[in-house]
């Protein structure tokens, strides 16, 4: 009886232990599965002209580019220059001031295809572009 009870208790404990282990395993697995993986995008896909509403970006293969917003009556020829790098999913744009100095902007790319570009910054602001030209 006692043994049975012990066995029963042991079995219950085992069940609890297993349940805990299972839970720990699941939690561990879940924890492991939530770790950010390194994502790398093909930066050649980035070259070209991208549009989001009235906002345009143009990335050139040599790491330079220009941006303009037609809502402000700015044309492509009047685009403001920047340099860019895409390392893994980190897109860095450094906008060069004519007066000297620079303004860096860092974005995390979430999608880059031949026609679509999506990224966001550290403050949760997302951008979505469609390629409109080379």
């Amino acid at each position: 009886m006692i043994i049975n009870q012990f066995i029963i208790k042991s079995a219950e404990m085992m069940k609890k232990t297993l349940r805990y282990l299972t839970m720990l395993t699941v939690i561990t697995l879940l924890a492991v599965s939530c770790t950010k993986e390194d994502v790398t995008y093909d930066q050649t896909l980035l070259t070209g002209k991208w549009q989001s509403g009235t906002l345009f970006y143009k990335y050139l293969a040599n790491g330079t580019g220009g941006t303009w917003d037609t809502a402000d009556n700015v044309t492509e020829a009047e685009a403001q220059a920047f340099t860019w790098t895409l390392v893994k999913d980190l897109l860095t744009q450094i906008h060069v001031l004519q007066m000297g100095g620079s303004v860096p902007k860092i974005y995390t790319v979430t999608e880059l295809t031949a026609t679509s570009l999506k990224y966001h910054d550290n403050f949760g602001k997302s951008f979505s572009f469609t390629k409109v030209g080379k």
Binding site: W68, D72, V74, H95, L97, M99, G101, P104, I106
Partner: protein, 1035 residues
């Protein structure tokens, strides 16, 4: 005694009675007509071959007392010849002849005491072959006598030959001469001796008609009354021909030269026939009561075939109308439209030889008085036309001939003109050397101006003109060869042409052509000097100008020569000049100067102009804009380059301008522009401001320096370069920018690329920086204002470089700090303007900084929470629209602020943070150090993580806020008394901020060994931002 006388008288009367009875017996009983008539008829037949008729012949005594006479009645000679108008050669009603028979019987002298032919006609005819009707004498059958050594005339004394009422016809077809004399009455007496003839002839006839068809000459003389007397001694004839009354008509060649002209003459004349010499002694002749007095001699030298003349003449007060009446009809057309009258007198001489190649010398003095003239082409009638001239000519030689006009005067109803002088070279090219004076009332000449010209002229013109010209020069308009000079005074002169008018109270015009004392060798063509008390000119409802006490001196070359640029020199001076047009007006005191125009020294087809000008006070008004200058002095040298198309490039100007005490008021400017002085030199390439001072509103400045490459700039060959020194006690930058807005720029989107290229002081658009210009303005401004901002001790360069306005390293003091500013403003197009600044403020009071640059509060609102001094660097740039609104999509910036021992201002935000972070309430709000960088990108302002140390706390702050004033900040407390690291997220907007505890995001941010990759990247970027900003300060 009485008895003797009584006996003598009785005896004498008895003797006479016997004598009368005896004579009566002889006449009426012995020599009765019945006895004498047959004898005469018989004798007549012996001497006359033609048929004769003698009605009766009677002896007369008492009617021819004391001589016996023979009276023949109804005498006729009839000799019909074919072609003759009549077969009667002579028909006489009564013929009485008285001959001194005693003289002839004793001395063989023929004394014709009386021959009276009363009534009858003579018809003489000769046909074309010479057959005549008067060849009635029988042929002389006696042998011709031996040649006489000398024939002597018998002595003939014609006491009286009288013809009464006899008609004479002479028709000679061989000579084509037909002469008719009607009612001829004549008396002839005279003597013929062996070597002399003397006599008197008195002729009266009602009509003489001479038709000489060979020469187409027809003459008719009516009522002729003539007396001829004289003596012929051998070759010498001396006598007098006097025609006291006659009316002559003369046709020659179909032309009626005289028509019933009353001709009279009295010719005392001596003639030597062998010498063909005629001498007139006070001879007079008149036609229609116009008398001519002649004296002198004429001799025909048959050897040399010269006619020698030595005549004087005189005529007095011939009515010109009567003279013109004598002009043949075919020449009347020359006087069509002319009505002339007056009295012509003349005297003179004709001396010298006349032959086929030589004319005698004529010296004629003409006097014309009380003349009147109306000429259809000259609507003003002339009166009191007087002339006194001398004509001296041989009708051949220019060297001898001349006309001297001693005086010629004429008057119109209100004007007068007079002239005098010489006219020479009468036969080749008439040359006039005249001095003409006139006093003209111009009003009366309006009738001569065609109505189509819409011109009226009033006032008076008087003066004198000296002229020397030839007719060929006039015909060819060769003014360059003429000599004209004179002086004309205009009084109350007023001329109107359509709506244009010119008035002068009194002006004096002196002129000379050519100019004998020209200022240059090429301006000798004409000289003119115009001196006026007052001149006004203008166009109705358009423009007007007024000159007072003006003097204009003009010299030119021949301006008619269109093949070359004329040489003109014009000097002018006047007390004042006023001019106005529409709402513009200008008034100048004492302007004087000199303008000259000449062909270019290198290219003669390019004009060269020089201007020297000085004046006193000048005032101009244009609408609401006024300008005043107390004194102007300028000297310009202007060259033309006509190969250029742009008018600015065609005219190249060199010289200087000197202005004093100028004042400009413009409606577009709220302030006056004062110009105490301006002195500048300029040439086509360089504009050099030696001295200039100006006050515009609150601004004052002195500007000196040079502007180079001006011509090259406008040619498009070079950039306009300039270097100026700008010194000012106070400068309103906004006003200065408005003054130069828009020069040389255009909007690429504009249809007209030159749109908006003119200087427009009205701020109607953005300030457009001039292009292709490189101008440096070294400024030294003690105080400058722009809006509410002020700055002192501004030193640096302001540069305009090809569309870019650059404030390069401008240092200045503001109430907040000593600052250094580099700013750039460029205007690619009107609606796309670039503005960039690089601004460094050292040791600036943060509160003052926010006051001075309120926009920084928008960029970094947290600065409001700090007090104290620090340094601030910012570089920012953006594009603006035409209204200077920021195009936020183009906004870029990077800034850095650093401070120590700052005070964190107590406020709601700080209280909330302090509460969340469990700050000690006794903690002072001091911030030991602050060093932060932030960037601006479009509407995002990113604050890079920075550390502040306050009391025993260290916190890292980072985040973003947007221009819509929404926030997303994070504060990480990385060091505090508690063993935990806290974080606070601050989100929302100013009115609704939320504060939440959060994970300490930057716990390891300032621990290099523990930093993550992202944190390292952020620090790198911060370093990059700061270093690039700080470099500017080092420079």
């Amino acid at each position: 005694m009485k008895k003797f006388i009584k006996i003598f008288l009785i005896s004498l009367l008895s003797l006479l009675g016997v004598l009368v009875v005896a004579i009566s017996v002889v006449i009426w009983i012995v020599f009765t007509p019945a006895r004498i008539t047959p004898i005469v008829r018989k004798q007549a037949a012996k001497y006359i071959t033609c048929k004769s008729e003698i009605g009766s012949v009677e002896l007369t005594f008492f009617s021819t007392f004391p001589n016996f006479g023979l009276k023949v009645r109804d005498f006729a000679l009839i000799n019909p010849v074919t072609g003759s108008m009549s077969d009667t050669l002579v028909r006489v009603d009564e013929l009485v002849g008285v001959v001194d028979a005693k003289a002839y019987w004793k001395r063989k002298d023929i004394i014709l005491i009386g021959l009276v032919m009363n009534g009858g006609s003579v018809n003489i005819y000769s046909d074309s072959l010479g057959h005549t009707n008067y060849n009635i004498m029988p042929p002389d059958t006696n042998p011709a006598p031996a040649a006489a050594t000398k024939t002597e005339l018998p002595f003939i004394d014609i006491r009286n030959i009288e013809v009464k009422d006899v008609s004479l016809r002479y028709n000679d077809l061989s000579l084509k001469l037909n002469t008719v004399i009607r009612n001829l009455s004549a008396k002839i007496n005279g003597k013929v001796s062996r070597d002399s003839i003397s006599g008197n002839v008195t002729v009266n006839t009602s009509m003489i008609s001479i038709e000489y068809t060979k020469e187409k000459l027809n003459t008719e003389i009516r009522d002729l009354s003539a007396k001829i007397n004289g003596t012929v001694i051998l070759d010498n004839m001396s006598g007098n021909i006097k025609v006291s009354s006659s009316m002559i008509s003369l046709d020659y060649g179909g032309e009626k030269y005289l028509q019933q002209a009353a001709v009279q003459f009295d010719l005392p004349i001596d003639i030597n026939t062998s010498r063909q010499f005629i001498k007139l002694k006070n001879a007079t002749a008149s036609i229609n009561d116009m008398e001519l007095l002649l004296n002198g001699t004429i001799e025909n030298d048959t050897v040399s075939k010269n006619i020698s003349t030595d005549l004087t003449y005189k005529l007095a007060s011939w009515p010109v109308k009567n003279i013109i009446a004598l002009v043949p009809p075919s020449y009347k057309s020359y006087f069509n439209g002319t009505d002339v009258d007056g009295l012509l007198s003349s005297d003179g001489s004709i001396k010298g030889i006349y032959n086929g190649s030589h004319m005698p010398l004529m010296d004629m003095h003409l006097l014309f008085e009380k003349g009147t003239l109306k000429y259809s082409a000259f609507t003003l009638p002339l009166h009191d036309v007087d002339g006194d001239l001398r004509i001296y000519t041989d009708l051949n030689s220019d060297s001898l001939s001349y006309v001297r006009i001693n005086r010629f005067t004429a008057k119109t109803p209100q004007s007068n003109i007079s002239t005098e002088g010489m006219v020479t070279h009468l036969f080749k090219d008439i040359t006039c050397n005249l001095t003409t004076s006139a006093g003209l009332t111009l009003d009366e000449f309006n009738s001569m101006i065609p109505q189509s010209m819409k011109t009226t002229i009033r006032g008076k013109a008087s003066g004198q003109v000296k002229s020397r010209f030839t007719m060929s020069q006039v015909e060819k308009m060769q003014f360059e060869k003429m000599k004209l000079s004179g002086s004309i005074t205009l009084s109350d002169f007023d001329v109107k042409y359509d709506s244009i008018s010119l008035k002068t109270d009194r002006s004096k015009i002196d002129f000379a052509l050519p100019d004998n004392n020209p200022l240059s060798k090429n301006t000798g063509f004409v000289f003119a000097s115009i001196i006026s008390d007052n001149i006004t000119a203008g166009k109705l409802a358009s423009y007007n100008a007024s000159l007072k006490k003006s003097s204009l001196i003009l010299e030119t070359s021949d301006i008619r020569d269109t093949t070359r640029i004329p040489d003109i020199i014009c000097s002018f001076s006047m007390d004042s000049m006023l001019a106005g047009m529409d709402d513009m007006a200008i008034a100048i005191a004492s302007p004087h100067g000199k303008v000259s125009l000449s062909p270019g020294s290198v290219h003669s087809d390019q004009p060269h102009i020089s201007l020297s000008y000085n004046s006193g006070e000048l005032k101009t008004v244009m609408g609401k804009t006024t300008a005043t200058v107390n004194k102007i002095s300028t000297d310009l040298d202007i060259s033309n380059d006509n190969t250029q198309k742009d008018i600015f490039l065609q005219w190249l100007v060199k010289g200087y301008v000197d202005l004093n005490q100028g004042l400009i008021t413009m409606s577009e400017l709220t302030q006056k522009i004062e110009i105490p002085s301006v002195k500048m030199d300029f040439d086509p390439e360089t504009f050099s401001i030696k001295e200039s001072s100006m006050k515009i509103g609150k601004s004052d400045f002195q500007l000196t320096g040079n502007l180079n490459n001006v011509l090259s700039y406008f040619r498009g060959d070079s950039i306009l370069r300039g270097k100026f020194n700008f010194v000012s006690n106070k400068t309103d930058v906004g006003q200065l920018m408005a003054l130069t807005s828009g020069m040389g720029t255009y909007d690429s989107t504009s249809v007209n690329k030159y749109e908006n290229t003119t200087v427009d002081t009205a701020i109607t658009g953005p300030y457009m920086v001039p292009k292709k210009i490189d101008v440096i303005l070294n400024a030294n401004v003690k105080l400058a204002t722009m809006g509410v901002d002020t700055a002192t001790n501004i030193k640096g360069a302001v540069q305009v470089h090809d569309g870019i306005l650059l404030l390069d390293g401008l240092t200045f003091d503001t109430p907040a700090a000593r600052m250094k500013l580099t700013a750039m403003y460029s205007t690619p197009r009107k609606n796309h303007l670039f503005l960039g600044i690089d601004y460094h403020m050292m040791d600036v009071e943060i509160s003052e900084l926010l006051t001075m640059i309120p926009d920084i509060d928008s960029l970094m609102p947290m600065l409001r929470s700090f007090g104290g001094r620090g340094e601030f660097h910012i570089a920012a740039e953006t594009y603006l629209d035409s209204l200077y609104n920021v195009k936020k999509s183009t906004l870029r910036g990077a800034a850095s602020i650093k401070g120590n021992n700052l005070v964190l201002m107590d406020g709601q935000t700080f209280s909330e943070i302090a509460k969340k972070l469990r700050f000690n309430k006794k903690t002072q709000n001091k911030v030991d150090s602050l060093s932060a960088e932030f960037t601006i990108f479009r509407n995002e302002i990113d604050i890079y993580p920075f550390l502040i140390v306050m009391d025993k706390y260290k916190a890292v702050i980072a985040g973003r806020h947007n221009f819509d004033m929404t926030f997303d900040y994070h504060v990480s407390v990385v060091d505090c008394p508690l063993p935990i690291k806290l974080g606070v997220d601050i989100k929302g907007n100013e009115d609704n901020l939320s504060y939440k505890l959060a994970k300490c995001r930057y716990a390891q941010y300032f621990r290099p060994t523990a930093r993550h990759e992202v944190e390292n990247k952020q620090l790198e970027l911060r370093k990059m931002i700061r270093e690039t900003l700080a470099e500017k300060v080092k420079e």
